[in-house]
């Protein structure tokens, strides 16, 4: 009895923190794209970032590139930390194994949005189209989170 009461209190304390809205999710062919987010920018001088989760329910799939009206030069990048030094470089494609998921997230793969056409304002969204080898183009609304955000503000459909 005491235990379940205690558990209920713990739950009550934890729930508000985890009660994220469900992520916008777009399914096409075998891929489901969700948890698309970016950080607010100050002006348009610096590149913005794009993070997303891709689930693949079919055979091997490849993300070949991204497109968005907010940036003239959007590109797939990867940050690699080697011997304590970080560097990011262009990646031609991201392979998603059969029945697997890949997240573009801080410290790893990311969309690099260069030559921004517009400032990204917290609380707004913008479309990003992911170009898949087999499933074709998939467009998702991307949430602009505060500059301080460290992860998506929603529960992804992994």
């Amino acid at each position: 009895m005491m235990n379940s009461t205690a558990a209920a209190f713990v739950l009550a304390a934890i729930l508000p923190a985890t009660a994220f809205a469900e992520c916008v999710e777009v399914t096409q062919g075998n891929v489901t794209v969700s948890a698309a987010w970016s950080r607010a920018t100050i002006g348009t001088e610096r590149p913005a970032v794009f993070y997303v989760t891709v689930r693949n329910d079919g055979s091997e799939e490849r993300l070949m590139g991204i497109e968005t009206p907010v940036a003239d030069v959007p590109m797939l990048h990867e940050t690699v930390v080697e011997n304590g030094a970080a560097r990011m470089s262009y990646v031609e494609q991201i392979v998603i194994a059969p029945i697997d998921a890949v997240s573009l997230e801080p410290g790893g793969y990311h969309g690099m949005l260069m030559d921004l056409q517009t400032e990204l304002v917290e609380g707004t969204t913008f479309p990003v189209t992911l170009l898949f080898e087999k499933s074709g183009p998939v467009t998702i609304d991307t949430a602009v989170l505060p500059l301080r955000a460290r992860e998506a503000a929603c529960e992804e459909a992994l």
Binding site: I42, R46, P47, V49, H77, R87
Partner: protein, 193 residues
């Protein structure tokens, strides 16, 4: 038989004593090797010079980065901002410092405004090439420019990605690898403050 066991036990004791003293000696050596004082003398956006000496009495969290990096640098600054919030009143005893490894570009693009969007306490420093290299060398860290057609402006920087902690006397205390959760950094700092 008993005698053999007793000898074996004494040998074991001797071996472990030697082992322990070797470990202690090594730990001591590491501690002393670690006790060095990284230096920097770099201007903020307004041109005011800041040196490591200025922060005597405070713990200093130093990060080397550049603001055209949209991934690892903002993620680390977000962690630092969280740490500063979570420290509460003790935050007054900690100074976060961002040293630009791409100072020419960062001076022009409003380093101060950028960093204060993460947390008003973060001090951004961007010097000339020589002063920046001196700071990088003094911290025994790494930064290097790479020409890269796929990067904004045609180049990108690789740079050490850890956060470095200096003690109140300016001595090197430790580093936090990239990805160390804010909670762990806060807990470490709270123990020292």
């Amino acid at each position: 038989m008993l005698k053999n066991i007793r000898i074996a036990l004494w040998v074991a004791v001797a071996v472990s004593l030697v082992g322990v003293s070797v470990l202690l000696w090594r730990a001591d050596r590491q501690e002393r090797a670690a006790a060095f004082k990284p230096e920097f003398s770099l201007p903020d956006e307004a041109g005011t010079l800041h040196t490591a000496e200025d922060f005597r009495g405070k713990h200093v969290l130093v990060f080397f980065g550049f603001t055209n990096c949209p991934d690892i640098c903002p993620t680390t600054m977000a962690e630092v901002a969280q740490v500063m919030d979570d420290l509460g009143p003790e935050a007054a005893e900690v100074q976060p410092v961002f040293i630009s490894v791409d100072p020419a570009r960062d001076r022009e693009s409003g380093l101060g405004k950028y960093l204060s969007a993460f947390h008003p306490s973060i001090l951004g420093l961007a010097g000339d090439e020589a002063a920046t290299q001196a700071a990088v060398g003094s911290f025994k860290v790494f930064s290097e420019r790479h020409e890269d057609a796929s990067a904004p402006g045609g180049y990108t920087m690789s740079h050490s990605s850890s956060l470095y902690l200096l003690g109140p006397r300016g001595d090197w205390l430790r580093q936090f690898e990239y990805g160390t959760p804010a909670d762990d950094i806060t807990a470490d700092l709270k123990e020292r403050l």
